[in-house]
Every structure is written in structure tokens, then in C-alpha cells.
Symmetry: C2
Subunit: 250 residues, 2 copies
Amino acid sequence: MSGLKFRRKHIVHTFECDVKKEMTLPALINIMVETSGLQSRHLGNTNEQMSERGLSWIIIQYDMQITQMPKSRETITIETEAISYNRFFTYRKFRAFDEADNILVEVLTTFAMMDIKTRKLTQIQEELVAPYQAEKIRTMIRAPKIQAVNLETASELPFRVRYLDIDGNNHVNNAKYFDWMINSIDLEILKNYTVGSVNIKYEKEVNFGNIINSFVSVEEVEKDKVMTVHHIENDHAIACRANITWVKRN
Amino acid sequence: MSGLKFRRKHIVHTFECDVKKEMTLPALINIMVETSGLQSRHLGNTNEQMSERGLSWIIIQYDMQITQMPKSRETITIETEAISYNRFFTYRKFRAFDEADNILVEVLTTFAMMDIKTRKLTQIQEELVAPYQAEKIRTMIRAPKIQAVNLETASELPFRVRYLDIDGNNHVNNAKYFDWMINSIDLEILKNYTVGSVNIKYEKEVNFGNIINSFVSVEEVEKDKVMTVHHIENDHAIACRANITWVKRN
């Protein structure tokens, strides 16, 4: 299973980094998704052409493995590769490499096509995915199951969906959900642990002005490894779920 | 008055843009300040060397004139120029140009040096500014006076300072204040007007976990032009003041 690859270099900006001078998850996701947008433009398949057909790509799930988060001012290579597609989903990998071509991050992403008017999923249109040379498959690629928040031990923090959270597609940028999740985690974990993996699934859209609640519970996985278990609740429905594993820093 | 100039190209990312597909103020400020950091590195004058001396650059004020905000996927040139300095302040211009070299944005910035331990301003150390070849002056460059919020008509919105708001210098990135201000403005203004100028002055630091209040009142300037008048209050003290003028879109 593999399709066209597309690569670009990126120098990690200081403002893309956290207090540890490591790239933040939202910044990493933004630059990766931008890279697939650049590949689409390169193949003559712009978002504008999708819009003209009344369609929009939406992101369903990320499954991320992080060996080492890129560091401030590091030159990284971002690679994207259209892997495969079935009737309803397309699968794409993103990778980040350091200057010696060691892999830092690998992400498997599930995309779907949405009908802009009905806001519902629609079947993949073959002529729109043809340029990426991905393999047509009959099966679904299943990401790891996402464990549910333990509501008995969970903490909860409200966030207001802000004007600047809304992007040019008129919806909340998918990287903002990482903000709401990370910013609800206990400071001791954020300071003493580093991200090892993320599995996030988007279930319902949230809109400008909504007050969402970010729930998080914590589980010990093994010695020096914990998992933060998240969901985003909006108007009593779950909009997004995620599991993040964290490895203790030396 | 002029010193060394430094230029770099930047392609505006879609995630740096708002619902109008125009670059946001925080994104523009981030990329500009990063450019002066690159010039410093280029001149062998890194933030790390400043830290070793127990010093840090801090931003006191921005005075911005915006002819046209850069647009999504536009290639712009960011220019920075060390203008001049006196005993306590250094002055630097930032400019953004379009591909035909028309000026889009011009910013005059006032920097100061802070002693990291005492968190107080310290005199400019001449050997640290010498590489920029800026002119030494005896006077202060005064930015336009910032008008005060009309508390009788102001609205007020709280924001929690989040973990991801803190940068590698261990304080709130100065662009975050723009988030708090813009996100407190009435949606009708944000939708129907475009930014013409900004004058912002930083007065006190805010810290992780603080709940700040973003105050805004609105004044008619002339036909099709309004000014939003802002301050950020933290623990009953004003941390930051700003005036933003907005011009009605056609």
C-alpha cells in the first residue's frame, strides 16, 4: 500500500514551541496538514476545486507515534504519502525526519469527504483521488480503540470557541482540539513527561461561541509511563475523544 | 536613522489565516519577531548569549500601519531593520511586502533589555547592539498616545493563561495578547471591518494560570472607520493597553 510522496523542509519556529523548546502538537499537526494541502495544489487538486463541487476534506482520526518531538530552530523534513482509500475514507501518512533522516514522528490520518451543504459524509469521488495514486482497498484501516474517560476521577475545564479558532474553511481548525486537551492536563505531567503517542478521533463539529468542556482522566500504563484520556463535550454530546501516552523525561 | 536590514520570504500558511483567509495579527507578529531573531543569529548574537549575561529582550510597544493584510498562500517578504537606540530602548522596524514589493504592513517596535533575575529593565549594553549598526540617539521615539477604555460602555471577557501560551523564554508570548483582544471584539466588527492600524503597549507580565480580563470599548472615528480601545487587566492592574482602528470592507 503506497501512493505518491511529497516532501518539504521546515525550520521549527521558536513560537511553534512550548516552554521546553519542543514543537507543540498543534503546531506539528498544522504544518503536516499544510503539507498535504501543498501536495494537492502541486497535483492541481486545490481546496477551491473541491469547494466548487460542494465538497470538503475532513479529518476523522490521527494515530501518532512520536520518537522525539522536533526542537526549536531544528530543520525537519515533513513527508506526506497517500496510502490507500476505500468507499468512504482515504488514508494518508505524515512523517517528520531530522537532518540525518531519522524518523521523529509518524502519523496515520483518516480523511473523509463531506458534502458542504448537508454537513454529511459522502462517498469518495474516484477522479478526485486518482492523482494521488493511492491504492483502492475494500477494507477499513482500523486505528487502535480509544479508551473512555474515567468520569469518577476526571477533571473538567471549560473553553470558549474563539473567533481566531475559526479558519478559512469556516470551521474550527482540527489542531485547536489539541490546545483544549493539552491545556487541561495537570502541570506536573506536562513538565515532567514527553508525548509518546496520540490517538484522536473527531466525532462532531463544534462552532464559534460554543462553550466546550475538556474532560481528562489519568491512568498509569507502566513505570514512568502514563496515559491521559480525553474527551471534548459540547452541548452534552461528545465532539472528540483522545488518548495520549506520556513518557517520563530523564 | 537606519541600521542593518535583514529580509526573508514567507509563504502565508492557511492555518495562519482567519475566516476571511487573511493572516491573523498574532501570526503576523510571530513571523516578524522570528525574523529579528534570525537576524540576531545571523550576526552571532543569539538569545542564548543574552541569557548567559542574565539578559532578555522584551517588547514594550508596537505601532503598526496596515495597508493590506497578507492573504492565505501569498508569498510575502518580511524585512526587519534596527533603526536606533538610546540608554534604555532600541527601535526596530518590521515591514511586509507583496511579490511586487508593495508595502503591506509597517511596524515600529520598541524593545528593552530586562535583567532576568530582577525582572526589571536595565540599560542597553552597547556591545550587544553594536552588530546591528543602529544609530545611537539621545531622544525617545514616542509612539502615538494610547486612548483609555471607556469603562461605562466597555464589555469584559475573562481568559485563562494556558500552558501552551507560555513560550521557551518561560513567559507569555507577546502575540497571545492579540488573541485576547481580538477575541473579545464584537463579531459584527470582525466580520465587516479590516484592521487599519494597531498601537499596543505592554506594561506588566502575566503568568501561567492567571485569569486576565480583556476589556474593550468602541468609538466611531469617522464614516466607515471605528476604533476598538482595549486593556488587559490582571489582578486589578493593567498589563497591556491597545487601540486598534478598523476600516469597513467594501
